[in-house]
Symmetry: C2
Subunit: 402 residues, 2 copies
Amino acid sequence: MLIVQKYGGTSVGNAERIQNVAKRVLETQKQGHQVVVVVSAMSGETNRLIDLAHQVSKEPDSREYDQLVSTGEQVTIALLALAIKEIGGKAISYQGHQVRITTDNSYSKARIKKIDADFIRKDLDEGRIVVIAGFQGVDEEGNITTLGRGGSDTTGVAIAAALKADACEIYTDVDGVYTTDPRIVPQAKKIPRISYDEMLELASLGAKVLQIRSVEMAAKYKVPLWVKSSFNNTEGTLVTSEDQQMEDVIISGIAYDKNEAKIAVRRLADKPGIASQLFAPLAESNINIDVIIQNISADGFTDLTFTVPRTDLTKALRIVEKTAKEIGCEKIETDEKIAKVSVVGVGMRSHSGVAAKMFQTLAQEKINIMMISTSEIKISVVIQEADMDRAVKALHKVFIET
Amino acid sequence: MLIVQKYGGTSVGNAERIQNVAKRVLETQKQGHQVVVVVSAMSGETNRLIDLAHQVSKEPDSREYDQLVSTGEQVTIALLALAIKEIGGKAISYQGHQVRITTDNSYSKARIKKIDADFIRKDLDEGRIVVIAGFQGVDEEGNITTLGRGGSDTTGVAIAAALKADACEIYTDVDGVYTTDPRIVPQAKKIPRISYDEMLELASLGAKVLQIRSVEMAAKYKVPLWVKSSFNNTEGTLVTSEDQQMEDVIISGIAYDKNEAKIAVRRLADKPGIASQLFAPLAESNINIDVIIQNISADGFTDLTFTVPRTDLTKALRIVEKTAKEIGCEKIETDEKIAKVSVVGVGMRSHSGVAAKMFQTLAQEKINIMMISTSEIKISVVIQEADMDRAVKALHKVFIET
């Protein structure tokens, strides 16, 4: 098999851990596999570099910033290749530009355009373990780019896709994807298999095990994606295409998100185009709107309520107030003390009654639902932040534990 | 003018010093010049990386080692470019491979083969300060190489040569080349102008201001080379082609070297080929022989005395003992407590009596001369290490101060 393994910053945090990764990688090769390893910067290193940048520049130029922070991964690849050689393996390290990971030129959030797979295959065929720097690439002009925080996951999946690898294994400090956060619900169970779509919902809803883009890319190229622990040998979670087995499980997980805030615009004149007038300036300012609720109109007026990332609330409010002045409204209310709780599962498609059961469970807990939003495979509710833990526990009990 | 400036590790040792370099560079540009800046790794950084390598590998593979240590310069170029932009300048940073510094593939001691000057000129013509990583390059296959300790000087001169720059300024923590080491002779004076040949003799004899290869390259391409301080604005030393003015000065400097050891092979059979038999195995082991003296033969026997780097003495002795067993000799003696003192000057060519004056001075000081070696522009003597300071002082007094 051809396996791509990705190790994050904590897994390569010091010389000893790098030696540990070297052992695991070499063992995998000795089991008869071809192995490509993608690594992040040693934990703490990227922050050290960012700190240096801020010592000389208040708002660092993004090209130079990428030139700087990409050194973090370069250090790790060289050290890992050295560690593999030290224990008798054959290894070679490559930076993004060396293995021709071509990206667009959006510094600090570049997107991969193509990877020269033949280049890597040649080394694999000669028995080498190929160690590749995650997070970084090069644009058409030869400028170094980076893919954004967590970009090493994306590098791993992109390389697996380019090589048509049999598996992409993401090694991290947790041993898989759980039905919910074990810190809130000790009964949370590891999910053995999950679909790409479910993983996307869980990731975007706050279960931050995998970078969303890497899951999207895995889904697009049908790369079987494993989430595993780099500190033990337990099975992990396989993220893959939907299958019958998954549909039998109605709900895969309960996700939550405490990073949103709510804005309610009261008694807007209900005319065509009002929503677009309100949301266009927010989009232009790169503020992501999540849940949107428009009340049924009464006397020609309506209420529009929506959520934005909590960090963007001040900025969003300023924009909304400006628009509201132009189009007229009674008042604008905000609420930062909210949380979003979601039940996610592909089984929902073929099973009715999930929403009813969810609302009933929350009602029994006397939790007030402020907003509701649904997709084919998830139902989300916005509630008071103070109610969140109780909601997650109750929903986990009803949908997962029983 | 087109000026290449090179700043060493101590000159860019922290954020504040990098900001200081940014100011100097921008000032130079504002005086109407085009400026290329070559920088080393921040002082301490290369050692930190080497230490990491040794934590995972006893004898680090040289390709991976270069991949690792080259990150040091990459960090500095990005930070310097950021610092220049912060104070309103236009700057862009390039790694060796980005600016196409092509080398052979001798990792850790690579030699530059070519540099794509057009690439740099384009940025200069657009008003940018071009910041280039010293010490590093790329081989034809895209592997990262490094030029060896002090290689940033060579990068600076090579870029100056490729661009046909009007000057290459090497900024360091001393403010020029001195007539001898001021720590030994407080009366030592800064040399305003010196020829490439003299600089080579002074550099190779232990005045470690410039890397020898960079001076050789400057001589080959006739690059006017300035040695200046990055901490003040004094004039510095110009290393350039020989001219009449220089010849008027008979002796430019007194150099010394305490890093050699002496091996004497007594009563060798004096046959043709004996020297080659003795020295060939040393050359094969990459041991540099410096001074060699063969005594006049008596009764068909001769003595061969030579110096080797002190760090290679044990290894050299082992090799010589093996050879001596084959060819026969009376005994082998070694002496580590030696020093080489040299007077250097192009004026010597047209002035006789330098050697006589040197020997007379040492005789007056009752210093015993063990070996003598001469070239067109220098005379070296090997003496007891304990006599070295006195010898340097006396020679400086006679040749420089009067």
